[in-house]
Symmetry: C2
């Protein structure tokens, strides 16, 4: 039985703690089923299985320098004054499959990444040679297309080289059978580099969740339109769509739905097909027009959207009224946030962001927190029994409040980068005190 | 005259410092011209102009609670034992434009966000009333659609309220004419919230740069295909496309281009149309098949792609050979990175990422750096005269090297989250020493 249908006496009005509500969300929301994605589509996603190296890296011994592949004995004792003079038998370029054989007294001109040819034991960098020009040390080779004769003739080697100098050994990076990446790894650019390097074009990950964001309220007008009396601009649908993307989701903004339960129910039903998570704002409090609560708080039969959303009061400020549950045939999780811009944004940070990141399979679902010294002109006050989240700016271990406690102060929110947490049992915090801070990053 | 066309003697081989090369890039690359974008398309972009508030927020006095709008004198001295009994003249919902007048002895049932109606001086929360039910305090209102009679009849008020209690004053968030956001602000979710709230549906920002990423090398095969002898998988084009996106760009992966100067030139010409920045990997060293250098190092006439790319040796490891300049009719900046996976990734972090963020107009273009204590089994060694960037893992003020110095060690890179910087004049760093660290985030 919902409080909207028949209000309970105030004495029985249970307040959930922030932690209880969060725990309920995090134990209900499950990571999405994994799918196989193209490497670049998997950026930021979580790997589901360990990835094993199918072929050693590098797959063959290859040169780490541009130079000459030679036999060690042929360059022993070489110096600029007394160079070793070798016959150049041709070029070995990267990607070349027909390999020369390097015999005694011979050298193959070799490029970085090219396979060490049979017979060669070491690589002498071109800077230790005359590059075949017979005019002392050079700094590089002439381009093959401009000077094809460089692949033939004689080269003067000015320094000796030990066996396998400037050679990257087969398997020196990773060996076939090694574990390249562990299940649970988040795929950033270097991890994508490794997967590509071992030949993986696709990878099995948990996909980014599709999040549908819907604001509600007959007072809401879209930006760039004209305001009439009593109207305000819809900001929540923009803010939370952006915040959902920031959290890693693919987010769809539905915009403002009028305060009519039937319209809301049918809009939600329409949107369910593209939602792994639904987020609404507004309509969850104790008023006579709180249609989110009205539309979703009945326990109805399976065929009707609006099965299992529980509306609660939380011991927090802002963000006291909240709804959470699942909806529709796929039991899609739905978070119903309050409508004030600051309330909805703070609720998003505390509850929706961790839900999105849980759907992604991330282990680290929360914003980082730290302790900071409160810098303020006067003490902060906070209602007893509520955990308060004030907007602030954090730098170098100090946090300063921005704006007041009002849940409509969106300008202050836009200048904040942190939330100052005032615990339930604290009614006043003096300047200089240590406070817990959520870093909004 | 390029070193590829005619190598200079080693003695004249100038080494650029990392800082000189970076400065050259950052003084050449200019922020992109601003464009007007839809709010959600502008996420992460930099605001070009100050934004002024066109209409105060809130635009009218409104209720911060669900309750009753009343006159102060009518509820003075009210208590649960001796309630004030007022006539309910109707509902004021959010968005309602036809407002009731509240006279003496009257109350209007009012919803959060609804305009304070004429005649009313304050708001009494519904929890301080009997909600019109005549049965003691309630916790909320019944839904209008289920109980329309709630908008009429009598209400018992149990507590007095001061003037303008639970009223959000017009302009208490921002006032018309205030500066909402300053030019240079990066638009995250809270800034988007504020812009929407003041009615801005579009905003003038510097767009995300379009970055074309192209790897070169005849040895490169695309992942999921079969390797033949001497071939390796193309990983750079994947890694750097992902890294460019991570830096804020819209990135296009072209994939591997064979080592043929004409093919490379025509591919670059084709791609220029969608590039604000071009990035190539490979082909920049001193070998005879280094076609990026060959194709782009001539100073040619204006009509030909490949005008002004300068190829350099940098005093760094990895990443010694680098190219930078501009190309094509729009003088599109081009960074030519070395081809080894670790060299190209480190080069991207040091040079391309700051270039991308400069194009975006961001002030903060570099990765954060910190100082950490080196934790290692043995001393790190580094070649004299080179600034070395070793891969490491950073946590709690300590950094530990991962893998060796080899520029082909992509597996180690995938397990690193930091670069350890060893300065040019340092050849050895003992465990326990303080080192500079670039945090890869």
């Amino acid at each position: 039985m919902s409080t909207a249908a028949a209000p309970r006496p105030a004495g029985q009005d249970h307040l959930w703690s922030v932690d209880e509500h969060l725990e309920d969300i995090l134990t209900t929301v499950r990571p999405l089923e994994p799918i196989e994605l193209q490497l670049l589509d998997a950026q930021g996603c979580v790997l589901v299985d360990d990835v094993t190296v199918p072929v050693s890296l590098p797959p063959f011994d290859n040169s780490s320098m541009d130079g000459y592949a030679v036999r060690v004995a042929d360059v022993a004792g070489a110096s600029e004054e007394f160079p070793a003079v070798l016959e150049v038998v041709g070029d070995v370029a990267a990607g070349q499959t027909d390999l020369l054989h390097v015999g005694p007294g011979q050298a193959a001109r070799i490029m970085t990444g090219a396979p060490l040819p049979p017979g060669a034991e070491t690589v002498v960098p071109v800077e230790w040679t005359d590059g075949g020009l017979g005019e002392g040390p050079v700094t590089g080779m002439r381009a093959r297309s401009l000077a094809p004769e460089g692949a033939r003739g004689q080269v003067h080697i000015h320094r000796p080289a030990e066996a396998r100098a400037h050679v990257r050994a087969k398997g020196s990076d990773v060996k076939s059978g090694d574990r390249a990446l562990e299940a649970g790894t988040v795929l950033g650019p270097p991890q994508i580099a490794l997967l590509a390097a071992i030949g993986r074009g696709t990878v099995r990950v948990r996909p980014r969740p599709r999040v549908v964001v819907m604001s509600t309220g007959s007072e809401l007008v879209q930006p760039d339109e004209q305001l009439s009396g009593g109207q305000i601009y819809d900001s929540n649908s923009f803010a939370l769509t952006a915040a959902a993307r920031d959290a890693g989701a693919i987010a769809y903004r539905v915009g403002a739905v009028a305060d009519d339960a039937e319209t809301l129910r049918s809009t939600i039903e329409d949107q369910l097909v593209r939602a792994d998570l639904m987020v609404t704002t507004g309509g969850v409090s104790v008023g006579a027009y709180d249609v989110v609560k009205e539309a979703l708080s009945h326990v109805a039969d399976e065929d009707e959207a609006g099965g299992g959303i529980d509306f609660r009061k939380l011991a927090m400020q802002p963000g006291k009224p909240q709804g959470f549950g699942s909806i529709g045939p796929d039991h899609t999780p739905l978070l119903a946030l309050p409508g004030n811009p600051v309330s909805s944004y703070v609720s998003f940070e505390l509850f929706v962001r961790p839900a999105i990141r849980t759907l992604m399979g991330l282990e680290d679902v929360h914003r980082p927190r730290t302790t900071a010294t409160l810098t303020a002109d006067k003490a902060l006050t906070s209602p007893k029994g509520r955990r308060q989240f004030l907007r602030g700016t954090y730098a170098d271990g100090e946090v300063r409040p921005v704006g007041g406690a009002g849940s409509h102060l969106v300008a202050a929110l836009a200048h904040a980068d942190a939330l100052i947490v005032v615990p339930e049992d604290t009614e006043s915090v003096e300047p200089g005190a240590e406070v817990e801070v959520v870093l909004l990053g």
